[in-house]
């Protein structure tokens, strides 16, 4: 292992910031470091963090996906509907497929019509949210089987199930990005799309892939939220897209593409979660919490931009 490289890495810098934040909060509030509180934070973070894995891939290709919150909402509703109709396992898998399909549609439109991801996913955001409202007529779907709640509220080996799911998704995401050829292609096409294409890589397929994965993970988070609240509500996940993008960006992934990692995004999501939790423990009003989170995102992006400039100054 090359320790010098680790110390110099972006992730390490963010991790230090995270540690400083945690130390500060544990000094300021005695409740912060309790096992119960840490699991609570991790559980809250898990929904955002899971989608962040997909978003990291999308942003690595220099794209963006604004539809994650709405896709989450639609799948949340569909999962409730399907589970009531077809039973637990078939319902969950069909709902997951729907999330995947919505992401796939994002990718296909971006690639085939050569449209900016911002616009396409903005459209999808409205469509998915609208459909969720149409299907439910605005009312939550309740009356889900009790065992479905285990998915979000249960524990396995003493750990909350959502946290376990999050860890699995991160391990898979990490291996996918760092060890597989598709991961290599994702980084390459974000670094220089044209050169990657001219090397014989089907960049379009890669793009469709990352949006599909993001759709799938948004769906997964949607199902977990349905389990947690034991209902399907059309307004679930409103505003999630910004939290997810925030987590990825705080994690050091470059919005211009080509640079970043899921590890960074996990730390980014944790910073956001810990900060929110800490501010609650410190009795800071919810209104001010928003302001502070916003500031953190801007500072993180400014830091990233400074890093980029200093690494380019040698040219």
């Amino acid at each position: 292992m090359d320790f010098k490289a680790i110390f110099k890495s972006t992730e390490f810098g963010i991790f230090i910031a995270f540690l400083v934040l945690c130390t500060g909060l544990s000094l300021a509030t005695p409740n912060f470091l309790s096992v119960y509180n840490i699991f609570t934070v991790m559980k809250q973070v898990s929904f955002i963090a899971i989608i962040s894995v997909g978003m990291t891939m999308v942003i690595l290709t220099a794209g963006i996906d604004l539809s994650v919150g709405a896709v989450l909402g639609l799948v949340n509703v569909l999962a409730a509907l399907f589970i009531k109709k077809f039973g637990l396992a078939p319902g969950i898998s069909t709902a997951l497929l729907c999330g995947m399909f919505l992401g796939f549609v994002n990718g296909i439109i971006i690639v085939k019509w050569d449209l900016p991801p911002f616009i396409v996913t903005l459209g999808m955001m409205n469509i998915a949210r609208g459909l969720a409202l149409v299907i439910t007529k605005g009312w939550p779907i309740t009356g889900l089987p009790e065992c479905f709640g285990c998915l979000a509220e249960g524990k396995l080996l003493g750990m909350p199930v959502p946290v376990i799911i999050m860890i699995i998704v991160y391990i898979l995401g990490y291996l996918f990005l760092s060890r597989t050829i598709w991961g290599r292609y994702i980084y390459a096409s974000g670094g220089n799309e044209k050169a990657t294409w001219l090397s014989g890589v089907n960049v379009n397929k890669i793009k469709i892939l990352v949006y599909t994965i993001t759709g799938l993970l948004s769906g997964l988070a949607g199902i977990m939220l349905a389990s947690r609240l034991s209902q399907g509500s059309p307004i679930t996940g409103t505003g999630y897209e910004l939290s997810v993008i925030g987590a990825v960006v705080i994690g050091g992934t470059d919005l211009m593409g080509g640079k970043g990692s899921v590890l960074g995004s996990l730390i980014g999501a944790s910073i956001m979660g810990v900060l929110a939790n800490g501010l609650v423990l410190l009795n800071v009003s919810a209104f001010w919490q928003q302001v502070i989170l916003g500031l953190v995102i801007v500072i993180a992006v400014a830091g990233g931009s400074m890093r980029r400039k200093s690494s380019l100054s040698g040219e």
Binding site: T180, I181, R184, G258
Partner: protein
């Protein structure tokens, strides 16, 4: 401020040096400019001309040395500062905004105002007309720049420099896109500017025109200062000799390879208003040169064959098997590689490592169930770094940090990794230093020995003539002549490339 009227030189650059990571771009360069003089800067690509120019323009900071302007030492901080000091640079790629008028372009960012917030258009057009008249350009200043041809756009750039009351105008390859009569007009303007006391730094590859227009010529080579000569006392041969600085014989190595079977056949390839009816054959172990001026369509033909910009008609056969001409995935599968002209934009992922760049063409083969075989990846990277003598600290180095020559070798390496039958090289030595050029020539030789068919596009005639076995000349989208290596001379090729028979 008291002006020294005795200053002989309006500009003096002494001992100017500049180092980039891994490469010393300029080493103690001297350059000076008299009032009302045309002083040319010549040298091969990578000799340091553009670096020197960018230092003068305030785009780069020099590492050491002094710049004296009008008797006062100055330190250019940024392009705006250089402009304020009276130095204008007209780059090869113009800095004009196509959808604005001539007048708006000349006075961009400093248009005359009335009532403090509104542009005073009548004054804007009057002022623009004044400067256009100065250079004898008879165009309505309201004309949009997008409606002008290249020569006219260049004149707008010159008018813009004059409007800054620049005392020094730098022209970077101003003639490269001009026709003969447009060039005459440009030279007339230059002479007029000269007589008005404006000093001009002129950069061009065409030595004859350098000697025609300049008072003095400074030669650079590999970032070193060679000499400054009076244009009247020298001749093209002497200058070329100074530029190259060595016997041309061993600079262009060439081993004869017995050519094998036809590996690529192109029949009647056509793309509307780019090229038409292109037919030729390429043999194993053959180096086929494509000569022609920029815009002759030679690069487009190659991009058509490879499948980047598919042709409208015609056929391409690789090893007698017909290939679809609209997909580069197809041609790559048939083992064709393409080294593009712009390696930074099209050849490399600059933010990724040497290893990643070399392996990008190979990943689809070195994996099991999608997982990259990392040991093999490592092995391939090291093998090619060694074989092509790629100078990098290790294979994890970010490609951006390497010199142009080493970057180009990486682009070639990534295609060698697919064991190509055919390799198209579009101006492979553009902008790389002389040493690396020589290495690339040696490499081309070795690849030919390995029975790879090679297509070489180059703007440098000596390169084409000395490295190719056969040369096809293109003009206005058509092949106009075929030469064997021994028949070709620069003059003959130029005649077929530039003149209507």
């Amino acid at each position: 401020m008291k002006k020294k009227t005795t200053a002989k030189y309006i500009l003096e650059m002494e001992n100017v040096s500049k180092t980039f990571p891994g490469v010393k771009a300029l080493n103690k360069i001297h350059f000076n400019l008299k009032v009302g003089e045309v002083h040319s800067l010549v040298g091969e690509n990578g000799a340091g001309k553009s670096t020197l120019l960018k230092i003068l323009a305030g785009a780069y900071k020099k590492d050491e040395g002094t710049i004296t302007l009008d008797g006062n030492e100055v330190e250019m901080t940024d392009p705006k500062h250089a402009l304020d000091l009276g130095i204008s640079v007209i780059y090869q790629e113009f800095n004009l905004i196509p959808n604005l008028s001539i007048a708006e372009n000349i006075f961009i960012g400093r248009a005359p105002r009335k009532h403090s917030a509104f542009v005073d258009f009548s004054k804007l057009y009057r002022d623009a007309e004044f400067f256009l008249e100065k250079i004898g350009m008879k165009k309505d200043p309201k004309t949009l720049v997008s409606e002008l041809n290249v020569a006219e756009q260049q004149m707008v750039e010159i008018a813009k420099s004059l409007s800054f009351s620049s005392k020094i105008i730098v022209m970077d390859e101003p003639t490269s896109a001009l026709t003969k009569s447009e060039k005459e007009t440009l030279f007339k303007i230059i002479r007029e500017l000269k007589s008005k006391g404006v000093s001009i730094i002129f950069i061009s590859h065409i030595i004859e025109e350098v000697l025609e227009i300049s008072d003095r010529v400074t030669v650079l080579r590999d970032g070193e200062y060679v000499d400054t000569l009076n244009a009247a006392d020298t001749n093209p041969n002497e200058i070329v000799h100074m530029m190259v600085g060595r016997e041309l014989k061993d600079f262009y190595p060439k081993t004869e390879v017995k050519r094998g079977e036809v590996v690529l056949e192109v029949k009647n390839l056509t793309k509307k208003s780019k090229y038409e009816d292109i037919s030729f054959r390429l043999h194993e172990g053959e180096v086929l040169g494509f000569a022609g001026l920029v815009g002759s369509g030679r690069a487009q033909v190659m991009r058509g064959i490879f499948g980047i910009e598919p042709p409208d008609g015609g056929e391409v056969y690789i090893k007698e098997k017909k290939v679809k001409t609209n997909s580069l995935f197809e041609t790559i599968k048939m083992k064709m590689g393409f080294v593009p002209e712009d390696r930074r934009k099209e050849g490399l992922i600059l933010s990724r490592s040497v290893k990643d760049n070399i392996n990008i063409t190979k990943l689809s083969r070195i994996n099991s169930y999608g997982f990259v075989k990392q040991k093999e990846e490592e092995k391939i990277a090291n093998e090619y770094c060694k074989r092509l003598n790629i100078r990098t600290p290790n294979n994890k180095e970010i490609t951006r940090n390497l010199s142009g020559g080493n970057q180009q070798k990486i682009v070639i390496a990534k295609w060698l990794a697919i064991n190509p039958r055919i390799l198209i090289l579009d101006d492979p030595t553009r902008g790389i230093d002389v040493g690396a050029k020589n290495e690339i020539y040696l490499l081309i030789n070795n690849l030919a020995k390995e029975k790879i068919g090679i297509i070489l596009i180059s703007s440098e005639l000596p390169e084409i003539i000395n490295i190719s076995d056969r040369i096809l000349v293109m003009r206005e989208g058509k092949i106009t002549h075929e030469f064997l290596r021994k028949e070709a001379t620069q003059e003959k090729i130029m005649r077929h490339a530039a003149l209507k028979n």
